[in-house]
Point group: C4
Chain length 241, copies 4
């Protein structure tokens, strides 16, 4: 069975190399965060730059090795993982060549490296399966949650706009309140002060919380179904081989 | 079986037209929100007005077509969906005729259009079924949650009214604190500052959170039961036909 | 079977009278809250007083009727419900006789009336059963949650006491932070500002949230077990009779 | 069966002594917290000191008794529980001998006493089992949650750093926002104020909450599996004996 053998190959090939690559990616992501620190001494910037070059060098070597070793020659280049691996090194070469360091958004492209984690991550496979299991339901109840958010925003807008014309200037402004309230984050930057607004918030919380919480529950149960399915698949393969 | 055939017809008739109508409703709702934006240029108001007129025109045509095509003639007018469809266009004509634009609450009537989504929404059907499954239990534990909220409000009132006579002026004022605390929103506009009030909050959170969270759990499990029931029904129909 | 027949009698006797009594209790509780409103006009106080007297009069009549009609004569007086019913009217007579209106705590005794709801409430019976099912587990994991809270408070105290000597003056002060943080209420009156304190909060939230959330989950599953048990009991009785 | 008999012995030996030791530990922990109270009268310090000495004395006697009564002589000293029991008294003697009272961190060592609770705690045994059941999954989805937090921090950094250069000074500063937001604590010390930042927060909450909530759900279900497993084990032992 093809699906099984591929699965097994993946398990066999997973070893020290994959772990090393994953560590490099994580290190690269942390380096990316460290670079944003204000008042970072110049020396640190140099170290991070060297680490960045080394990382990209290793990724590039890996990329060309994979092209050469790909069984149907060159097939790797246009495969899903090939594109991901290219995206992980591409931004570095562009930014060095044309020196676009000042272009902010460009540096964000380095985050494509995160996609390289997909290669080795069982979590993402399961998330993917869970998502495809509950796709319709998530869309259905996600829409219901959006309607609840919309109605909450609209309601609070009518109750509060006179007393707080800044914070509740429009339905869109009120939407911010609805989101932070119904997810129970509650920053406290906007909250109703009128009696009507408070009473309305009470009803919104009583009814709305249950509906907004539905997608989370759906996703959780889909995730456990995905595990069962993957376990069954694995067992069948173990049995076959 | 009547229930099944109706179900199937619904599935067959659901197509591009329904999708178009749903898109119109969503567009109409967004337009409603955009209109509330402060400092919106006059041109936008005109565009929204035209979109509004077009939407109502399409809904009106649909309404009269449905009246004409209804199998027992005119039965549609007094059916549940007929009334919803009328409510979706009715407010527009009234407000245009008598020009009640200044009456704020009146414009809210346009929200009846949201009900038109019911027609096509499987989510609402399932919410409805889930609600009827857990009706008694929701009432029971909703009442329990209300009692917890009441007792929390009463308790904090006695602990905090001396130190914060404004925020905890009465049990009703304290109720606002109880709601935002026990739903874990916690805006931070009111919170206990006395030692007694803080200790009381500790116990309220330890005991109360569990009781206030019960209805959400009930609704979630009712929703999954509703799915099983609807799936079973659907399968039976598929088998029959 | 005695348990069943008693159950059935309860169902038969439950009717308009019980509904009326429950409405009176709820009205009484709302009246209690209304009384605390500042600047309440004198007329309202009079109306509430009359309503209070009427309520107690009805409860008193009910109490004596129950004594007279109790099958083993006077047995009702010392029964669980008899004591509850007495507690619901007792405070009123004491406060009128000796005029202890100024004694604040005394008026709280009127809340005993809430216990009268127990008589008619299936929710409380199920809460009781759920609690006895999960008693040991709740104690076990409640203790675990308390230890997590204690360690969180202790840790943040060491991290923050230098920078915020007011808010984190002692482990007890820090406990307030731990409670509002781990229940995710997050008022925002106290929060870490040092880097160490923020990093510590990160770990506390990652690990602690899961442990603090355990009792709520336990209670929820115990509550659904309690329902199954009560349903089974009821079915057996229906079958017997 | 050795596992079973040990289990039973544990049950038999558990009695008043264990309860007394547990009470001492809890008392010791509370004493530790009381000591941190500012403006604590000198007399209280003396009382706490005496209680501390008495507690350590009892623990020391228990420790030496256990060494003497250990069946393979001295085996207790190097056993897991022996080391815990030593850690519970060790810090006291060191600090008295060399008088390191000024060294802050040193006093924290007294918390090792908390580990003594492990001896008697079924909760910790179950936590341990639940953790080993869900170890891989927790690591997997814990990593997924961390990636979500990282991406959220990175995103909000780009949206907010211009308008709030203090609060969102770097990705690490933004991480604090990401943690308090995605756990729904929401202190309100940092929150987005730009339109882009608010829209980003909306999407982060919609998608991120579900992923961050996964580990909690995993741990909860592992905990219930752990109970089943322990119950089965216990039943088998009861059957054997």
């Amino acid at each position: 069975m093809r699906g099984c053998s591929r699965d097994e190959k993946g398990r066999i090939s997973f070893g020290k190399w994959e772990f090393f690559i994953q560590a490099l990616i994580v290190g690269s992501l942390i380096g990316f965060a460290v670079e944003t620190l204000p008042n970072l001494p110049e020396r640190w910037h140099s170290i991070l730059r060297i680490f960045e070059i080394a990382t990209v060098a290793i990724f590039t070597v890996e990329y060309f090795l994979r092209i050469l070793l790909g069984r149907p020659k060159l097939s790797y280049i246009f495969s899903f993982y090939g594109i991901i691996d290219l995206l992980a090194i591409f931004p570095f070469y562009i930014s060095t060549g044309i020196d676009l360091r000042s272009v902010r958004a460009f540096r964000l492209l380095r985050l494509f490296r995160l996609l390289k984690l997909v290669r080795y991550s069982a979590a993402i496979r399961r998330f993917h399966l869970a998502f495809s299991i509950a796709k319709e339901e998530l869309a259905l109840f996600g829409a219901a949650a959006l309607i609840v958010l919309y109605l909450s925003a609209l309601g609070i807008y009518y109750f509060e706009r006179d007393q707080q014309p800044e914070a509740f200037a429009s339905v869109f402004h009120s939407f911010w309140w609805a989101v932070t309230t119904l997810t129970t984050v509650g920053y406290g930057d906007v909250y109703p002060i009128s009696v009507g607004g408070k009473a309305f918030t009470f009803f919104v919380l009583i009814i709305g919380l249950e509906i907004v919480a539905v997608p989370t529950g759906l996703f959780a149960s889909a995730l456990s179904k995905a595990r069962e399915q993957l376990d069954k698949e694995k067992n069948r393969c173990d049995f076959d081989s």
